[in-house]
Amino acid sequence: MITLDRVTKAYGKGGRPALDDVSVNVDKGEFVFFIGPSGSGKSTFIKLLLKEEAPSRGKVVVAGRDLSHLRKWKVPQLRRSIGCVFQDFRLLPNKTAAENVGFALEVIGKPREVIRRVVPEVLQLVGLEGKEERRPDELSGGEQQRVAIARAFVNRPLVLLADEPTGNLDPDTSIEIMRLLDRINRTGTTVVMATHDSNIVNQMRRRVVELDRGRIVRDQARGVYG
């Protein structure tokens, strides 16, 4: 599903590259943690998958698309097959939960009937039934992240990228969010999660890829934070 082949990404000239000769492969349906301290290259990894950045060297393949040969106007197509969740939720403050999720469908041109049918379904899936009409400031952090996950998942992406999704949440809420991501993973969606939350990594016992200063220092099935 995701393949990086000897990828190096350097920002500007000189200095240490953010990713240094990284090769990694993630299969369809896998759940992978990318761990490592700040500056180890996790965010750069996610940006490369979204083609927000292009690698300085090497090849990135996502869902069968070689991103170095992907035309600029086809980038939106790529992003429609990838769902994204962030530490800061990135919800629109003036829209309700349902509108936030619907917005993601609206702007890719989905018909109104589809939106009206699909949005309540996915909000129910993430456990927000009854809170569809609340705005982000009327929801707890965990609930806001559920809205964000619903928005990322509503278009049934092949890959779900989660960049520190529990970074702003307390431990109990974090575990609920992980259960939700696990459930999404069981539908066949590949989940890639960047984190430095050791509790969660240790509890989940999934594949762990550890980055340090732009290099992969460990790639372990059913790993722990270390």
Binding site: K72, S81, C84, V107
Partner: protein, 292 residues
């Protein structure tokens, strides 16, 4: 395509920063009105040239002491000259009565001119009015001729003034146009900034570029259109209140009519230019503003 979504975005965009929108619309309007005025002067001058040049005459004024022989010789030469279309002779009495008619509003002037002070003349219509120089050379030196006057000289001075006005109007139109485009760019930047959250999410979930950019480009184009309509309205007011009411009553027959059809053609042209340029300015701003 969700028309309602795009249109509501456009409306919000225009009302988000009303003062800037007004500035943008007014500059566009002034620019386009001046562009229209410049275009109008060009067409009017063209029409006036057509209208007058072929009506123009060359006047050959005789000396006070011209003899009958000299006059007859000149008349014969004119009759046999291939440059000359026709000739009208005007004697002193005719010249004086025409003078009295022309200046009947200033009786002091008429009183001070004796009937025999005005020279007799031949009014000559040329086959090709542009050949004036040739005619002047041919007749100015003949005995009994005081001087040869071409009315075109006088008109050329008028056209010179109109040409200057036209260039002035077009230069100001250009400067205002640049200002309008910069304002549009600025407005779009502000709009893009205030919608940066939405834009970020749209990019993230894979909205196509034109879907992201269309509301901004339409916002710019719509402002351009409103500016064009206002500028055109200014031209209509100028025609109705200034040209038709004042100029034409003062110079009946001198100034060719400014036809309404000209204004009818001007509206779509001005609107087209405005929509195209402002939309383009908005789109270019976005290209450098929103990275994909």
């Amino acid at each position: 395509m969700r028309a309602k979504f795009v249109l509501s975005e456009v409306a919000t965009g225009l009302f988000r920063n009303v003062t800037m929108t007004i500035a943008m619309v007014l500059t566009t309007a002034i620019s386009l009105a001046l562009l229209g005025a410049g275009g109008l002067i060009v067409t009017q001058v063209g029409k006036m040239k057509d209208l007058f040049y072929y009506r123009l005459e060359v006047s050959i004024f005789m000396k006070q002491d011209v003899t009958a022989d000299q006059r007859d010789a000149l008349r014969e030469r004119l009759a046999s000259d291939p440059l000359v279309a026709n000739t009208v002779y005007e004697n002193k009495e005719e010249a004086y009565s025409r003078f009295r008619e022309q200046f009947k509003d200033s009786p002091e002037l008429v009183q001070n001119v004796r009937p025999d002070a005005l020279p007799e003349s031949f009014r000559v219509k040329l086959v090709d009015p542009t050949k004036y120089e040739l005619a002047a050379q041919r007749y100015a030196a003949l005995p009994g001729v005081e001087r040869v006057v071409d009315q075109r000289r006088i008109l050329d001075r008028l056209f010179g003034i109109l040409d200057t006005l036209r260039s002035g109007a077009l230069v100001i139109a250009l400067v205002q146009g640049v200002a309008a485009l910069l304002l549009i760019g600025n407005t779009i930047q502000v709009a893009a900034y205030s919608r940066r959250r939405e834009v970020a999410i749209m990019r993230l979930v894979g909205a196509s570029n034109w879907y992201i950019q269309l509301p901004f480009v339409l916002e710019a184009a719509l402002a351009g259109l409103v500016g064009a309509v206002l500028g055109w309205g200014a031209l209509v007011v100028v025609k109705f209140a200034f040209v038709d009411r004042m100029l034409h009553s003062a110079f009946t027959g001198v100034i060719p009519t400014w036809e309404w059809t000209w204004l009818l053609y001007a509206l779509p042209s001005l609107a087209g230019i405005a929509i195209l340029l402002s939309g383009l300015a908005g789109w270019l701003t976005l290209r450098f503003q929103i990275k994909v």
